[in-house]
């Protein structure tokens, strides 16, 4: 194959980018090697080397990111990554989203945060810093290998964001040396063109990345056989990580609820699960860390939990990026051939800490005496175990596809298909997880309340004595009362829910009481209260919202027999709404009043109201759910919900379906083609009888307006006002089809009467009817001066307004050897007036008069003579017979498909604000604790 000299490529980015990726990889590799070889005696000169290698690495990562942004903003589509994620139409603010839409971008985001975190350690201020920095660089080494994009033998290592499109695909387009002129970007998935996509991924990835710090502290500790000195500095980091990862997960939930079609904030989807699990383990680790710091118990547990948290982050990135979740998740990344690299990542990250842990297990300090039953540390430890169990259960179920894959790999060895052994995820994942996590919730809430009252080391608790009993009984009493009230104010609660309810209230009451009884303000105590109380509130919110979620868009009377033995969960969740036909559904009246098309979205206006017994409207509000079309406007790509927020409940609405003719262009065309139009002729005020309807031609208009259509001057418009009636109805309905002629183009404006399934249009043959073929026209002649008005008989007048050589380029553009003059003529029949612009054209010694016509009042006219001496202009004209006297053609189809309906889903979420409030409170507790610890440390030094 001969090589082609391509034009218009920006190859310097390709080479610079590859160089930078290699530089990032090699600098991290050197750093790691230096660390491993000199680990025992890491002298200051080696620290200097590490310092500079880190800076080189950081600079290359930042430059890679800068380069990608540059090529994305410049739309260099010769690059695969740019082509795949950006398009010309994409607004600049979404370039961020486009950047981390792909795997390469999200790996870079992860490395970016790792580098930022490294900045806190690269000055080697305390003894663990150099090993933490080395561990961060080791992780970045593996991550940057995912971007190498080099071949070793047959297999590819990594996928480069700087790969050229022509290297990724083998299509004839690349035989064209100027192919860059021809390609356009794919653009960002419309679902992701959303402000959540700008803020959610960086937050979540900072959360994921930050779990490396507790991991690295624990690993450094065990490597240096130091089991106590890292317990204190790690704590603010672990708390921060818990805060930011929690925020990332919460944002994901808020995104799903506010902007996606899930109809909820949490669906126990594998991808969601695998971001939650590391967080749960981290929170467990924070608790054992507190124990270890204060009492010396649970050092080994803290280490294992911090290890596990980061291992789970890596495992989760394997699950979401390897394509293994294909059958079970709605939003996993797609397969990219990095599976084995990801497996390697998992193996490295889990085996090294495990090896250290086992070999040095004996060195981990163990306290001689056992934890006492009435000590805080004992119950905190139990609480951490419960959290660990929660994480274990969630990951166990989520890993089903992994078991299948392992079985397959195993089967391959024996050439035996293991498919019959495959298991699929639970049929009802939400129910499955809820039934276990409910008990976890009960236990965690109880433990978190109890441990608030207890003190470290049992004796101190005993000293509290009476006051302990008083506090516990007061909050128990209050929470029993509150549980009872809330139990009876909600219908659907099961007895197991009562337990959760009780423990949630207990957690809230205990925290509140703790705050009240503490004498002075102590930020750490407040942090504890926020987190534990927030957790209680979150549980209440989950319970109230989850159990009492009410489908509003359901019509109990329209259930089919088929569904007789289906449970309540299976009832129809969607309802069809016809435009302007108000509908009652589960307590609300709803009316679909209009829809408007704005910038790729069709926005629907839904009116909601309630009526009291006197039919007065109460609680009136409007919702605006929308459907979003794809970048080429040919198909519906996404539905965006709209939610009314009240303090105690939300009303959530989503468009589940719109008429086929509006979902995609092809379907619309097909629908139009399948219509059976019949041609009828009709005079003004006459009636035609179609198969099922009477149609009266009530009036003929020469002007009309149309939505989403730009009219121009010189457009000739015609519209019929028709009265349509079927045999049963007394009142006739109006239909007003239109037609527009612009130069040689015809635009039709058919009118659909959805109630009758009738579609009416004016055929374009009407033009010939009112404009006879001009060769045969019996023209009359007329001489007229500028400004003069001439009567043509029957109350019709012609007036010559102006003569000019400035010709509207829309009408005619004279060539070089042509002289053109345009006249502006006003023609009126008393009631209607039209402006005509005939042209007089001199080409060489030839004179051309182009005829122009108006439909109503009908006239055909040409500019035939100029007499410069007398300033008289000659025109040939022919007055058409009035439209009102003609038999006019009308096309009627009576099998039209309705297109004035939508299918909606409306759900009421009671007390969902408690979910948000509780989570935010819980997370702010973590942040406050982290901040206080950092501040205390700074104050101390």
């Amino acid at each position: 194959m001969k090589s082609i000299q391509y034009v218009g490529e920006h190859l310097w980015i390709h080479y610079t980018g590859h160089f930078l990726v290699c530089l990032a990889f090699i600098s991290a590799l050197f750093a790691l090697t230096a660390f491993i070889l000199n680990r025992k005696q890491f002298s200051d000169s080696w620290k200097k080397v590490l310092h500079w290698l880190f800076l080189i690495h950081l600079t290359s990562i930042f430059s890679i990111i800068g380069l990608i942004f540059f090529m994305m903003s410049q739309h260099y589509y010769e690059y695969n990554y740019v082509w795949a994620h950006v398009s010309d139409e994409l607004p600049t603010k979404y370039i961020l989203s486009a950047f981390w839409e792909g795997q390469e971008g999200s790996f870079l985001l992860w490395m970016f945060w790792n580098c930022v975190l490294g900045l806190f350690f690269f000055r080697f201020r305390s003894r663990f810093d150099h090993s933490i920095l080395s561990i961060i660089l080791a992780v970045n080494l593996i991550l940057s290998s995912m971007l190498l994009g080099i071949y070793v033998g047959e297999s590819r290592i990594g996928s480069s964001p700087f790969a050229l499109l022509r290297h990724m695909m083998d299509i004839p387009l690349f035989n064209n040396a100027e192919y860059t002129q021809l390609i356009k970007g794919n653009g960002l998935n419309p679902l992701l063109q959303n402000y959540w996509m700008i803020i959610h991924p960086p937050t979540l990835f900072l959360g994921f990345a930050s779990t490396i710090i507790p991991f690295a502290y624990a690993l450094s500790g065990i490597m240096e056989k130091d089991f106590s000195n890292w317990l204190k500095p790690v704590l603010p980091w672990a708390l921060f990580s818990g805060f930011i990862l929690g925020t990332g997960i919460l944002m994901g939930g808020a995104w799903a609820y506010e902007a996606l079609s899930f109809g909820g904030y949490w669906a126990w989807d594998p991808v969601e699960n695998m971001s939650l699990v590391p967080w749960i383990v981290l929170i467990a680790g924070i608790h054992t860390n507190l124990v270890a710091k204060s009492t010396g118990f649970s050092v080994g547990a803290t280490m294992s939990l911090y290890f596990l948290s980061f291992i789970l982050v890596v495992y989760s990135s394997f699950l979401t990026r390897s394509g293994i979740l294909g059958d079970s998740s709605a939003h996993a990344f797609t397969q990219m051939g990095l599976e084995w690299q990801l497996v390697f990542f998992c193996v490295v990250v889990s085996s090294i800490p495990l090896a250290y842990f086992i070999s040095r297990y004996k060195l981990i300090p163990q306290k001689e005496q056992e934890e006492q039953f009435h000590s805080r540390e004992f119950w905190m430890f139990i609480g951490s175990l419960v959290l660990l169990f929660s994480a274990l259960l969630i990951s166990f179920t989520t890993s089903i596809p992994v078991y299948n894959k392992i079985l397959d790999q195993f089967g391959k060895l024996f050439n035996y298909s293991m498919e019959s052994w495959h298991r699929s995820p639970p049929l009802e994942p939400i129910k499955h997880h809820n039934q276990y996590q409910l008990w976890i919730g009960v236990l965690v809430a109880l433990l978190s309340s109890i441990s608030v009252y207890l003190r470290y080391l049992g004796e101190r608790t005993l000293k509290l004595g009476k006051s302990f009993l008083v506090s516990v009984s007061i909050s128990l009493l209050i929470s029993i009362g509150l549980s009872w009230i809330s139990y009876y104010s909600f219908e659907k609660l099961h007895w197991s829910h009562l337990l959760l309810l009780g423990s949630a209230w207990f957690a809230i009451c205990s925290s509140a009481l703790y705050l009240i009884r503490s004498i002075r303000f102590n930020p750490l105590q407040s942090a504890l209260v926020c987190s534990h109380g927030g957790f209680g509130i979150l549980l209440l919110g989950i319970l109230f919202t989850g159990i009492n979620k009410r489908i509003i868009s359901t019509n109990e009377f329209a259930q089919r027999d088929l569904l007789e033995n289906w449970s309540e969960d299976d009832i129809s969740k969607h309802l069809t709404l016809i435009k302007d036909q108000k509908m009652f559904m589960n307590g609300y009246w709803v009316n679909y009043s209009s829809d408007t098309f704005i910038n790729k979205s069709r926005i629907y206006e839904l009116d909601f109201w309630k009526e009291d017994s006197l039919n007065n409207k109460t609680e009136h509000f409007k919702l605006y759910p929308e459907v979003q079309y794809d970048n080429k406007l040919t198909k519906v790509a996404a539905a965006n919900p709209s939610t009314k927020h009240y303090l105690n409940r939300d009303v959530f609405s989503l468009i589940a379906q719109i008429p086929q003719t509006q979902t995609d262009v092809e379907a619309a065309k097909k629908a139009e083609d399948s219509l059976k139009y019949e041609l009828y002729f009709c005079k003004l005020k006459d009636t035609i009888y179609t198969k099922n309807h009477f149609i009266i031609l009530d009036s003929i208009l020469t002007d009309f307006a149309a939505k989403d259509f730009e009219f121009k001057s010189g457009d000739q418009k015609l519209q019929f006002k028709l009265k349509v009636k079927n045999l049963e109805d007394k009142e006739a309905k109006t239909a007003s089809p239109g037609i527009l002629f612009r130069q040689n183009l015809v635009y039709k404006f058919p009118y659909q009467l959805d109630a009758y399934r009738v579609r009416i249009q004016i055929p374009d043959t009407i033009y010939d009817l009112v404009n006879p073929k001009w060769e045969n026209i019996p023209f009359e002649h007329l001489l007229i001066k500028k400004g003069q008005k001439v009567e043509l008989g029957q109350g019709k007048f012609l007036k010559l307004n102006t003569i000019s050589r400035d010709i509207d380029p829309e009408i005619y553009v004279p060539k070089e050897d042509e002289i053109a003059v345009a006249a502006e003529i006003e023609f009126t029949n008393g009631s209607q007036t039209v402006l005509l612009k005939p042209i007089y054209l001199i080409r060489g010694n030839q004179i051309i008069s182009l005829p122009v016509s108006a439909i109503s009042p009908g006239i055909t006219l040409r500019f035939s003579k100029i007499n410069p001496q007398t300033e008289e202009m000659g025109f040939d004209y022919f007055v058409h017979s009035d439209l009102s006297k003609l038999q006019l053609p009308i096309l009627v189809a009576e099998n039209a498909v309705r297109n004035d309906f939508i299918v909606i889903q409306v759900i009421e979420f009671p007390w969902i604000n408690l979910v948000w409030f509780g989570s935010i409170l819980m997370l702010s507790g973590l942040l406050l604790a982290s901040y206080t610890k950092i501040k205390n440390k700074r104050d101390a030094s």
């Binding site: 109809g263 294909g326 329209a558 589940a656």
Partner: protein, 132 residues
């Protein structure tokens, strides 16, 4: 015996009991024949029979969507889904259903579609179930 050993052993025992009970919820991928035999709720993977009727008339019933699916054994049966028809349904490469057989018809409660996208190798997933 040491207290901590008892404690550890009991933890492991709890974990095993829990995991076994959790795994009872694990399901298998069934075929139409298996689903008909058991009559229970199952998960079923198949491909859309494109030459058969796809029925959805939202103006009549928004929650009635029927089509024909061919399972792994090559058997084609009618499926009724109690939800609106998802976007791009016709383009789906693979359909994962949850539901049960009744009188030769598969009644589906939820459906997960696997669609080829504009990319060669990339696939996008569309979920048509509602959550929490």
């Amino acid at each position: 015996m040491k207290k901590s050993l008892v404690f550890t052993l009991s933890l492991i025992a709890i974990a095993i009991v829990l995991l076994i009970s959790v795994s009872k919820d694990f399901s298998t991928y069934a075929t139409f024949n298996k689903a008909a035999k058991s009559g229970d709720q199952v998960k079923l993977v198949g491909t859309l029979a494109k030459d058969q009727e796809i029925y959805y008339q939202p103006e009549k019933d928004a929650n009635y969507f029927s089509f024909y699916l061919t399972d792994k054994d090559g058997i084609t049966k009618k499926v009724i889904l109690n939800a609106p028809k998802p976007q791009d349904f016709e383009l789906s490469e693979q359909v994962v259903l949850t539901g049960s057989m009744k009188d030769d018809v598969f009644l589906a409660k939820s459906m997960l579609l696997k669609c080829p996208s504009k990319y060669k190798d990339e696939e996008i997933y569309i979920k048509s179930t509602t959550a929490l």
